[in-house]
């Protein structure tokens, strides 16, 4: 019997090699990249079928689907990287319907010249995030763009999940009198990324809160299936997310600044840079709006989960045809917490 012919003459050089245009050409080099890198880390029976799609049984009930493109600079930051972020971001979007995520699809756009070692690190991080969350990447796609036409790596992930019976969570369901809860401290992710991007050094290391929230959501839905709204305050932070919910539901919000959890190191970094932590991105926090009587049981359930240990009620929904989100400041005044305009920019002096 003759030995199995070698599929590839040489193994990928994952230590010093770089992405080149052949890795996206659909030929042998792309097959090798998929087999020796992507499959190596993300292996599962559905992905290994190597079809252009994943075929799976559909569970009874309502399915939710969400997609999210991930572009971030730098690709690696304290507490995470674009790989884990691409998994957490989409899982959380699925989870914010109260759903349990089932499957992920991942599309990679790679820039010619990107080090394979960094790509391997990113894919390994995706795999670790998937394993921890109990979710598999079951189909994917790879494209390569010429040098200078990308930013290293862009990752788009699409997730599918199932909503338990009796759960109906939507951004238009906030009602006056509802309680507004957050699962923990705000601004950690945005400040961690900004600090590494701008090479700013702070005495205290600030880590991203990037995490998959579906287990926390499952614990919350178990005690209060009637939750009205859930949303993860990513880009634009708490302020933008609450403005979205206020507009969708046609209500106003009244927040209490003293109740909003913000770590001292994050508050200090924001102070230094002239930024408002209410507008800073989070990747492992959620906002929950629920009937007032559900607030305490929900807070208890959240606090008994590691990702909700610092959960707090930060305000309540009020009647307001103008849809203003207001904040009673710690100082004793009142102000609007408006939509974010453009990007937050550091002040001049």
């Amino acid at each position: 019997m003759s030995p199995q012919p070698k599929r590839f003459a040489q193994r990928l050089n994952l230590r010093e090699g770089t992405v080149d245009m052949t890795h996206g050409s659909g030929g042998r080099a792309m097959a090798q990249l998929i087999e020796e890198l992507f499959m190596q880390h993300l292996d599962n029976p559905l992905l290994r079928q190597a079809n252009d799609q994943a075929a799976f049984d559909v569970p009874a009930g309502r399915l939710v689907m969400s997609t999210d493109g991930h572009v971030i600079s730098p690709l690696f930051f304290p507490g995470g990287d674009i790989g884990s972020l691409a998994v957490h971001g989409t899982l959380n979007d699925v989870a914010m319907a109260g759903a349990r995520p089932l499957y992920l699809a991942a599309g990679f756009i790679l820039e010619e010249g990107f080090p394979l070692a960094d790509l391997a690190r990113i894919v390994a991080s995706m795999a670790a995030a998937c394993n921890k969350a109990g979710v598999a990447v079951v189909t994917g796609d790879t494209k390569v763009v010429e040098r200078g036409k990308g930013d290293g790596v862009f990752i788009t992930t699409t997730g599918v999940g199932r909503v338990p019976a009796g759960v109906n969570i939507s951004g238009d369901r906030a009602r006056p009198g509802d309680a507004i809860l957050v699962s923990g401290s705000l601004g950690d992710h945005g400040v961690a990324v900004m600090a590494s991007r701008e090479n700013l050094s702070f005495d205290t290391r600030i880590e991203s809160d990037s995490a998959a929230l579906h287990e926390l959501v499952a614990a919350m839905v178990a005690v209060a299936p009637g939750i009205h709204c859930l949303r993860d305050p990513t880009r634009g932070g708490l302020a933008t997310t609450l403005n979205e919910l206020a507009q969708q539901s046609g209500v106003g919000m009244q927040l209490e600044e003293t109740q909003i959890p913000i770590k001292p190191a994050v508050a200090a970094a924001c102070e230094l840079l002239g930024l408002d932590p209410l507008y800073i991105a989070n990747e492992g926090k959620l906002i929950c709006i629920c009937a007032a009587e559900d607030a305490e049981p929900l807070l208890e359930a959240m606090r008994s989960h590691p990702l909700g240990a610092d959960a707090a009620q930060i305000g309540q929904v009020i009647e307001d045809p103008q849809g203003f989100v207001r904040l009673r400041t710690a100082f004793g005044g009142q102000r609007v917490v408006d939509w974010l305009t453009g990007e937050q920019l550091p002040r001049i002096c």
């Binding site: 701008e198 700013l200 001292p264 508050a267 200090a268 102070e271 840079l273 002239g274 103008q322 203003f324 207001r326 009673r328 400041t329 710690a330 100082f331 004793g332 005044g333 009142q334 102000r335 609007v336 408006d338 305009t341 453009g342 920019l345 550091p346 002040r347 001049i348 002096c349």
Partner: protein
Amino acid sequence: MKYIDDFRRNDLAQKLARGIAAAVQPGRDYQLMEFCGGHTHAIFRYGVQDLMPSNVHYVHGPGCPVCVLPIGRVDLAIALARQNLILCTYGDLLRVPGSGRTSLLKAKAEGADVRMVYSTQDALHIARANPQRQVVFFAIGFETTTPPSAVALKQAKAEGLSNFSLVCNHVLTPAAIHGILHTPLPGQLAIDGLLGPSHVSTVIGTQPYVPLAQTYAKPIVISGFEPLDVMQASLMLIRQINQGRHEVENEYTRAVSAEGNRKALALVAEVFELRPSFEWRGLGRLPDSALQIRPEYAEFDAERRFDLPQQPAEEVKGCDCPSILRGIKRPSDCKLFGSVCTPDNPMGSCMVSSEGACAAYWTYGRFRQEAA
């Protein structure tokens, strides 16, 4: 944060509020101009107005470097950025509209190499890293940001950095206050006292304000930017107004002295000199109100190194930024405010900068207007 939180304490604010309520005389209004956008921002962000008696009013002044930059200078920055060089500047300036509704951010989207920096050191670093390209730092700001610009020019000279230059738009606070108080339109400007910017005074001290307070018979209190600072300084102003005094007092004693930072002042004097005349948005051309680079540093002066347009540009029709900057009108008096002019679609500079009066009204105080 400990040293900051102490200046935001609710219990102390309530105590001060009671003190102010007891100090104000019923039947008279107190118009206090906060010169600096940092104060405007603090007043709105913390809701300071809610703790003040109804007859104490804050009038928002021109002290925002972005707001007072005339459109012609924004046009100049955009023209520079389009000359295949690297233009570095502070973040807020990127969104300011120049003529034809363009901005540095739009120029960047069209291909210009515009980079936001946090400090002059970042700009120097970019110049060192790109020796084959010209790097221009578009410097703006009051006395607070001038010493770092002086340091950058000294460093560039010492290192022989031939690809670095600076456009100097540094302006002077006392000259602007003089401009506001000296030429008010009759009956329109009613300011009883001024809150002076503390960060500026950490550099220049309190002395430069003494002639202004005396000449125009207006009390000036140098105030920190924390909300308790603003309230304490307001109380000091109210007391002076009640007593008919017009002195320069210092609320920010933790960092400001009468004579200022002599080392920084010497550094600035070594690199910069008075510009005979400079155009301010809203205040027009003011003599001796800005700085320019000394001849000894001419090789680092981008205005000499590059061929730049210097023509004045017209304000957007209907935009009341000039009157708002002078304290003659409030943002809500402007016909464009909130209709066509919002932070997402700014017509004038007061709506662009986060420290501009219009942006502060819109971002933090809009609900008051809706309720009124």
